[in-house]
Amino acid sequence: MAYEISLLTAMGISVLFALSLNLITGLCGQISLGHAAFLGVGAYTSAMLCKAGIPFYATMPLAMLAAGLVGVVVGLASLRVRDDFLAITTMGVVFLFVGIVRQQDWLGGELGISAIPGPDLSKTGFMWLTLALAAATAALCVYIRKSWMGKVLNGIAEDEDTMRIMGIDVPRYKLAAFAIGTALAGLAGALYGQHFKYVGPDSFGFIESISVLSMVVFGGIGSVPGVIFGAALLSALPAWFQVIGDYKLLVYGGLLFLMMRFSPTGVAGIVRRALKRGANAKGSKPAITGAKP
């Protein structure tokens, strides 16, 4: 049972983390290949503060603040670059983060920080805390989508030049998306450190960034339920894959590829199509879907 609890906790953290990326990438259209750096900032902040004797609950907002601040700085630096340039720049950010943390003895350097003290919370309690925070984040994401900010971010995702002509302060909004997204990643980081009781530079590298992006895309970029599903599934996958032992990464890679190849809109896309087919079967008119020219 404890194993399942730990798995569920890990899934909750992944969901939170993936949702935070979805705000930046799914909603605002800013591809980030370096999101793990902000998970790292949150995790290190919380871990260091816990070690310094500050209660874990108090470190959570501080982790969010730290990650959000770094996020704004990175966001500011990224404002000048777009699309693929942005993707590569953010990829650079994560390498830079790992490279810098590695050299900091006060952050444990290569060895990282282990035996992080935590609150008096049972494993089950911590799981509930994680799941509750993930659910709250999901609710926040749905809310943002519905708000005017969601509409604006969506517009920026599609065509930021036209948004400017419509009087939108594009940089401000991008920064806002970055700030919220990275702060939430920081929260996920705090939970991450507490869950594994260990943080080290390698836990927040490029691979992590890619895997969280995969979760978002796998679930269906932009779709909150899709991302939740994708994150939950992909984070649990390696554990289930233990059975196929030697072939698990092969299967993981293959699966990512096949998913994109055959259902580029992710799981959310599959579900949407299935629903539509169901509706059509019931006799409603076939919907015309216009392909982009």
């Binding site: 693929d84 720049t89 650079g92 995969s214 092969l250 993981y252 580029p264």
Partner: protein, 287 residues
């Protein structure tokens, strides 16, 4: 002297980066896809190089087989993996490509073993003194020379010939290019063939320089390659060459004088970010 030697070493490293990044540039220029799986051909080249040389003793044969098979596999990858998802937003191809790369890396490990392969007696290791005590191995000299020649040829093809113009036209508007008699598949096959063959070419060289091919050897070059095509201004052959050499030299000095602060990858990316802050369109962009 040390200064010259560091520059020389930077150029060797930069040449290899250039060969790898070139394929990425070609594919990016053509399809706007960040083709991470490209690095798999680099690794493949390394393996084929070692296997063929060990089996036949002929390095030339090894180069030919490596480049030919990687080239053909490049075409296959385009047809099977990318062609069907071209109309999707770019991150779809990116994730697909990353998935492919992971799968390939594992495939290499399962087929060839985790510990990698080496040449039984690595060829081209003779040291040659160029001037004033500055020595290179034959392999190092050849990789530098080969890179400059190959890239020169490609640059000429891209900018001055009808084939080059045809390629560029497919980038802007594939449908219209078709309406002017360009067969999209041919152009794209050609690019994937050349790009993948060059990656394999680089792979054989790296295998020679390190006497080691491993399943994971493509990882670092693949994301460095991405950094380079950005530095080079995306899609330009000349820019890619210059960016690769620059990065090689920056790293060469960085690993000596900055290694206390940043590791090699971080140095490369710090440089990239710094450049992009001042030139968001890349270091050597035409625009």
């Amino acid at each position: 002297m040390l200064f010259v030697e560091l520059i020389a070493q930077g150029l060797v490293q930069g040449s290899i980066y250039a060969l790898i990044a070139l394929g990425l540039t070609l594919v990016y220029g053509l399809l706007r896809i960040l083709h991470v799986a490209h690095a798999a051909f680099f690794t493949l080249g390394g393996y084929i190089g070692v296997l063929v040389t060990n089996a036949t003793g002929s390095l030339t044969l090894a180069f030919l087989t490596a480049m030919l098979s990687a080239g053909l596999m490049g075409i296959a990858m385009y047809r099977l993996c990318y062609e069907p998802i071209l109309k999707q937003p770019p991150f779809v191809a990116l994730i697909a490509s990353i998935g492919l790369y992971i799968a390939f890396e594992e495939l290499f490990r399962i087929v060839f073993g985790a510990s990698g392969l080496s040449y039984q007696s690595p060829p081209l290791q003779k040291q040659i003194e160029v001037f004033g005590g500055l020595t290179f191995s034959q392999a190092e000299l050849m990789v530098m020379g080969g890179t400059v020649v190959i890239i020169g040829i490609l640059g000429y093809l891209q900018n001055r010939t009808r084939v080059g113009v045809a390629c560029q036209a497919t980038v802007s508007d594939p449908q219209m290019a078709e309406s002017f008699g360009i067969k999209l598949r041919t152009v794209r096959d050609l690019n994937f063939f050349i790009g993948s063959a060059l990656a394999a070419f680089a792979g054989v060289w790296v295998a020679l320089l390190n006497n080691l091919v491993e399943p994971t050897m493509g990882a670092v070059p693949s994301y460095k390659g991405l950094a380079i095509i950005v530095l080079g201004g995306m899609g330009s052959v000349r820019g890619t060459l210059l960016a690769a050499l620059t990065l090689g030299i920056v790293e060469s000095f960085g690993t000596i004088y900055l290694s206390q602060f940043l590791d090699r990858n971080a140095i490369a990316f710090a440089f990239l970010i710094l450049v992009l802050m001042f030139r968001p369109q890349g270091l050597f962009s035409k625009r």
